[in-house]
């Protein structure tokens, strides 16, 4: 079974600075998807960014980018120019491309605090 590990329970960043959230995963598969979800206090799950394992290029969405290291099974999220609205819980998630059910496997999450 696949597992996702987020080793940083909490992180803090100064407004306008850059922060990196770590994620590692364990799988024997070669074809899969990786995601970062944001969960603000409203509890809504918001997709931040996604990466397809067969693509070598790291995904980027505005101020959010990932560092995908397939051999190391690492998938970190970099938030540039941090804003107060970025404060939330962030979850890393894995999904097999071929496994029945297309289930998401989540890490434990990282609470991000943004200081003004």
């Amino acid at each position: 079974a696949q597992t996702v590990t987020q080793s940083q329970p909490e992180m803090s960043v100064q407004e306008a600075e850059t922060v990196t959230l770590s994620c590692t995963y364990d799988t024997s598969e070669s074809d899969y998807y990786l995601f970062w979800y944001k969960q603000p206090p409203s509890r809504q799950m918001i997709l931040v960014i996604r990466q397809e394992a067969y693509k070598q290029q790291n995904a980027t969405e505005n101020r959010f980018s990932v560092n995908f290291q397939k051999a190391a099974k690492s998938f970190s999220l970099k938030i540039s120019d941090s804003q107060l609205g970025d404060a939330a819980m962030y979850f890393c998630a894995y999904r097999s491309r071929m496994e029945y059910g297309n289930k998401l496997v989540f890490g434990a999450g990282t609470i991000l605090r943004v200081k003004s």
Partner: protein, 113 residues
Amino acid sequence: NAGVTQTPKFRILKIGQSMTLQCTQDMNHNYMYWYRQDPGMGLKLIYYSVGAGITDKGEVPNGYNVSRSTTEDFPLRLELAAPSQTSVYFCASRTGRSNYGYTFGSGTRLTVV
């Protein structure tokens, strides 16, 4: 387009009571999921369904039951509620065609006392 609708948003149950958490989606998604989120933890899969009439157990199914009689609805039944079932419950759905595109409901906060 309402997306995924969960009801109720909050509920307090007494130990031993039963209840059904409702989940409805209006996007004609084949795949639906129930997750629970305990404090400081990630989401864990309870049950999932790949289409009407088909359900499968996830990682933590004990104490729960589901049914999928229609594409739109995927209710989660709690029988004999226990304090260990105190959690936030999320329903999600996705089309089978997309590579991503999970839509989550806003969650149900359940407390068992």
